[in-house]
């Protein structure tokens, strides 16, 4: 029982001097891209290079909520595809991702918010995603623990109810994808830091790591919170990203009381009960860029206040753990997925902010297509980097809360 445990993704591989593709970042997006490259595109000579360990960053720090009720036409299909992939991946990877499609309830606290939700619901329904507008009484019927009285700071007017959403076990997806990728021959190099990216005549030629040089024609930047810094340091390419620390916490385990993900823009809080019984809740973002991932007493107080109004039965429940992670926020709250521009062979899958978890499977699938063919799939075209200079920012900021260091 206490013998040497072999990881799911096999023994430590040796770093080869040549790969068809190098993926920077052993998180969900990098591993998903590697998995789909190997599975669908027969590109198996692929290295995933991770500075620390698999799932060290946002992949292991998020609150594992998935949904496809985004605001804009471009985003919804991508997230819907990710939602559809969880049961498929669970089977394919032969690994229980613990997908619990309990449904999401986005609470609305004013008539104006209800109107905004009405548009969100219309977008979802247009794309065939189940989403309804419900009133406060229906909210109470779905979540009896909810406080719908009028005498709280932000009384509940109604909610956007999105039944297909839910939660997963985030570590399971990291391990499952790593297992799946390794099965197809992908080399996963942990504790390997990228120190430089070689470019010749506008083309990617190599990646320098602290374990040696790798020749490669393709690089995917899937470094999450560090992607913008990496892009600027190694290629001089600035990205429209601000990196902020975002916090989350869990309470002590409780008997089942919350069978939906509940979120509120006005209270600036969301909560769901994990399968272990803990209430996982977030999400406070620091209002200035930093890489600390440190937590604050300020936020514990905020969260306690919000939860004890929204879900009064949680008064007196103790928080058990509290942690922070990095969110790479773009000005329009939508990611940057682009490639071959301005450097041929350089692909980006970054700027995910705090949406990287719910999208990873679909983003990996399409980035793999992109990296194999060199042509951007239609699904990813709206997410190009040039949209910022063309003033074609996406309208995702209209959904829920707008987190940037600028507001």
């Amino acid at each position: 029982m206490f013998g040497k445990v072999k990881p799911l993704w096999g023994e430590k591989p040796t770093l080869k001097s040549n790969y068809d593709a190098v993926i920077i970042g052993g998180g969900l997006h990098g591993l998903a891209a590697a998995y789909f490259l190997a599975r669908d595109h027969n590109m198996r000579n692929v290295a995933v290079v991770e500075k620390r360990y698999l799932g060290f960053g946002g992949s292991g720090r998020n609150t594992a909520i998935v949904r496809a009720n985004q605001r804009t036409q471009e985003n919804v299909p991508l997230y819907r595809e990710a939602l559809d992939l969880w049961p498929i991946l669970t089977k394919e990877l032969d690994y229980n991702l613990m997908f619990y499609n309990c449904g999401n309830l986005n609470l609305m606290h004013s008539e104006a918010a209800m109107n905004a939700a009405r548009m969100n619901v219309a977008t979802a329904q247009f794309h065939g995603v189940e989403s309804h507008l419900i009133d406060a009484k229906q909210c109470k019927e779905l979540v009896p623990a909810l406080n719908i009285s009028k005498d709280i700071t932000y009384p509940i007017f109604g909610a956007m109810y999105h039944p297909p959403g839910g939660i997963l076990r985030h570590d399971a997806i990291v391990w499952g994808l790593a297992k799946g990728a390794a099965k197809y021959g992908v080399d996963i190099h942990q504790q390997t830091e990228v120190t430089g990216i070689g470019v010749e005549n506008g083309k990617i030629v190599s990646v320098e790591t602290d374990k040696g040089r790798i020749k490669t024609p393709r690089v995917l930047n899937a470094a999450g919170g560090y992607s913008a810094a990496l892009s600027y340091q190694m290629l001089g390419l600035k990205l429209p990203i601000s990196v902020l620390t975002i916090q989350a916490m869990v309470t002590q385990p409780l008997k089942p009381i919350l069978n939906h993900v509940v979120s509120s823009g006005a209270y600036h809080a969301y909560a769901n009960q994990t399968l272990k019984g803990e209430i996982a809740t977030g999400a406070h973002m620091d209002a200035w860029p930093n890489y600390t991932t440190q937590t604050t007493a300020y936020y514990i107080k905020h969260q306690a206040e919000a939860l004890s109004e929204m879900l009064p039965c949680l008064r007196g429940v103790k928080f058990m753990r509290h942690w922070g992670g990095l969110a790479d926020m773009t000005p329009d709250m939508a990611p940057i997925m682009d490639g071959n521009d301005p450097i041929e062979g350089y692909y980006m899958d970054c700027g995910w902010g705090y949406f990287g978890f719910k999208s990873c499977a679909a983003a990996g699938k399409y980035m793999a297509q992109f990296m194999d063919s060199g042509n951007c799939p239609a699904m990813l075209k709206p997410f190009n980097l040039r949209r910022y200079e063309q003033h074609r920012l996406m309208g995702e900021t209209a959904a829920l809360v707008n987190y940037t260091p600028d507001n």
């Binding site: 600027y232 600035k238 990203i241 601000s242 200035w288 860029p289 930093n290 600390t292």
Partner: protein
């Protein structure tokens, strides 16, 4: 994350009194012949330094002054005295 900033007028104050104003990117570009790329570079693009960066702050809940300071983004500590700017 705890943050203490030194306002050039009020001295050391709690970071929550301030509003972050972005990375220092030099003067605003001239509007004559301004290309969309140059404007985008000024408005949106960041270096996202994991280390010491020069940045703008406004003491919004205090005297209202705008100033630049140097801060280490990996530990949230100021590393220099802020330089008062107009």
């Amino acid at each position: 994350m705890a943050l203490t900033l030194t306002c050039p007028v009020c001295g050391k104050r709690n970071g929550y009194e301030f509003r972050y104003g972005g990375e220092e990117k030099g003067p605003r570009p001239e509007e004559a012949d301004l290309s969309p790329q140059a404007w985008c570079e000024y408005v949106h693009m960041n270096q996202c330094v994991a280390g010491i960066q020069k940045e703008w702050w406004c003491h919004k809940d205090g005297c209202g002054v705008w100033f630049t300071t140097h801060r280490d983004t990996t530990c949230n500590l100021e590393v220099d005295k802020p330089e008062a700017q107009s």
